[in-house]
Amino acid sequence: MRQVIGLIVLLVVIAFLVSGMLQFIHPFGYPPSDIDDYIIEKAQEETASNNVVASVVFDYRGFDTLGEATILFTAVTGVLLLLRTVKRKEKNS
């Protein structure tokens, strides 16, 4: 019985997403692009790099990449924190 409900829920969600996507999203290949045209045009001169994506990642939106490097640092510290061998210093508890 649960499988049937599951399939119905799945179909409803996919139908909603597909219908939303077919009617409202811009046609594939013709996006509005005023910011990106400015970046493509000015990237070489402002950030002196050929790879426009690298200039976006490290210069125009560098703060995101700082956040992302922090996320990697957090995940690594978190994993090593959880996998530490627990030798708890039992004084008086």
């Binding site: 509005p32 005023d34 910011i35 990106d36 956040g67 996320i71 510290t77 994993v79 708890r88 004084k91």
Partner: protein, 522 residues
């Protein structure tokens, strides 16, 4: 000094980050140096937040564009679209900044002794500093994708800290639930950001608000934003993970996590008020938020009545108190449309809701820290096993009483001030809401007296005869919060006038937020 002022938004985020990266290297010089560095950096951040707050209350919105030729150059030459990431700090964000700076400083001081006997402390302090930086980033940023990145930093560091006591199975399960919920909520938020980027090719909140046309996609994006962010604040239909995660974490981490839920609520307000503003069908949206607020209030407190675990008991109360905030701001949102209703009680409703965020951000961490103090001495969270601890834990007893009276809304203390403001304004909107809110407040008082009685009063149990008071740093931490509560109780008008109402006006006034970015161009 003014140079420090122009850089203060970015310094508040970057200093905890830099110190967090530094701690693994410093910790080789011993625990003392590391703890001193943590407290010093958080104190300096608190100082920066205070001078930034003073400047914002004097001359309005504060902008910092990252990587531009001049820090306040929002629009590069010849283009009407903000290209880079802009930190926009208005009265509402600095209001959350003050709360977050104070609570994270107290939690750090508290953890000096609460964590003294645990292994892996270096990584613990690194993660808590990263969480501080993450939440500051969430509060100050004016960019949607940046909000998602810092939301993820806060969630990942929070999940790792919840599962800190890996020797207990329920801690790890609480952490797992938190990270699964945060991952799904973050990806839904990202889907919404993608939808907005598909239409307007920009990620800046101020610019999007100025070009918003409320198409069908924008409504889908709004539902995605609301759904994902309210999951993180523990709204009723999806709140089952909240007590599981928040009750197993160390007490000071739970205190900080409650404020991160407030930051998610702040993000909901930023999306509703600043991004979508008035022209969207606000009455319907306001009513949804009000109904969810009522539901959260009621279910939270009824579930809390028969809890035996003291931390689960407090977590359910945290959910129900969130309901008050949703109720207050939901009423304000519902009447955002007609200005005369807004003037009479709408502004007070939002003011009450935001004032309740401030009060809740003081007494709820205090209650969690007192529960942590009980755990620190009795190594158990079960109320049935505790008893008669009031005899030898005097200070904790007093602090617990202050927190309890404040959460129940007893007149002299600050809980009453904000709840009364909410009752008064919500009553004019619809009397039934105020009646339910009062009923919930009574049940809160009843359940807290029960918990107080089972933990503190009663005969002194034999095994807790030699229990000493908690060490100094924990008392200092709790003392700062209690002092904050007492100050707000004695001068509610002062706090309301100088901190809460500027934040309310900043939230209501969407045009100011947009002009901050677009530089006055309509």
């Amino acid at each position: 000094m003014d140079k420090l002022l122009t850089y203060s938004p970015i310094l508040i985020i970057a200093i905890p980050l830099a110190v967090a990266f530094l701690i693994p290297l410093i910790s080789r010089a011993g625990g003392k140096a590391r703890n001193a560095l943590v407290i010093a950096s958080l104190a300096f951040v608190e100082f920066l937040v205070i001078i930034l707050a003073r400047d914002i209350y004097l001359n309005g919105i504060h902008i910092y564009t990252l990587g531009a030729i001049a820090p306040d150059l929002a629009l590069p030459g010849g283009v009407m679209v903000p290209i880079r990431i802009i930190l926009e700090v208005d009265a509402m964000s600095i209001f959350m900044g003050i709360i977050w700076a104070t609570v994270s400083l107290t939690a750090a001081i508290y953890s000096l002794s609460h964590m003294a006997r645990e292994t892996g402390q270096t990584r613990f302090y690194t993660l808590s500093l990263l969480m501080v930086a993450g939440c500051f980033g969430m509060i100050f940023t004016g960019d949607l994708f940046n909000l998602f990145v810092f939301l993820e930093i806060t969630s990942i560091s929070g999940a790792a800290l919840i599962a800190f006591r890996t020797r207990f199975a329920d801690a790890v399960e609480g952490g797992f639930k938190y990270i699964v919920i945060s991952a799904v909520a973050g990806l839904m938020f990202l889907f919404g950001v993608g939808l907005l980027y598909a239409q307007y090719n920009s990620l800046n909140i101020g610019f999007l608000a100025s070009v918003m046309q409320y198409s069908m996609l924008d409504k889908i994006a709004l539902t995605l934003f609301l759904m994902s962010l309210t999951i993180k604040t523990g709204m009723v239909p999806l709140h089952m993970w909240y007590p599981d995660s928040y009750s197993v974490a160390p007490a000071n981490i739970t205190a900080m996590l409650v404020i991160t839920s407030h930051a998610c609520m702040y993000a909901v307000f930023r999306v509703c008020f600043s991004l979508y503003g008035i022209t969207l069908g606000v009455a319907a949206l306001g009513w949804i938020v009000v109904i969810i607020g009522l539901l959260t209030m009621f279910v939270g407190v009824t579930m809390a009545v028969f809890q035996t675990d003291v931390m689960r008991f407090m977590s359910y109360h945290a959910i129900s108190q969130m309901g008050y905030m949703w109720l207050g701001v939901g009423v304000g949102l519902a009447v955002l449309g007609n200005p005369e209703a807004l003037a009479t009680y709408g502004r007070d409703a939002i003011g009450g809701g935001i004032f309740h965020i401030l009060n809740h951000a003081m007494y709820k961490p205090l209650l969690f820290l007192t529960a942590g103090a009980l755990y620190h001495r009795t190594a158990t969270r079960d109320l049935n096993k505790m008893g008669g601890l009031g005899h030898n834990m005097k200070f904790t007893l007093i602090l617990y009483i202050i927190g309890t009276l404040s959460i129940a809304g007893i007149p002299p203390l600050n809980g009453f001030a904000s709840k009364f403001l909410i009752y008064e304004s919500v009553y004019q909107f619809n009397p039934v809401l105020a009646v339910v809110a009062m009923l919930v407040s009574i049940i809160t008082l009843a359940s807290f007296t029960k918990a107080f009685q089972s933990a503190f009063t009663g005969p002194q149990l034999p095994e807790y005869k030699d229990v000493k008071e908690v060490p100094k740093p924990m008392l200092i931490g709790m003392g700062i919060l209690a002092a904050g509560i007492i100050f707000t109780s004695i001068f509610p008008g002062l706090v309301l006038e100088h901190i809460v109402y500027p934040a309310t006006d900043a939230l209501i006034n969407q045009a100011a937020y947009v002009n901050g970015i677009m530089g006055g161009i309509p």
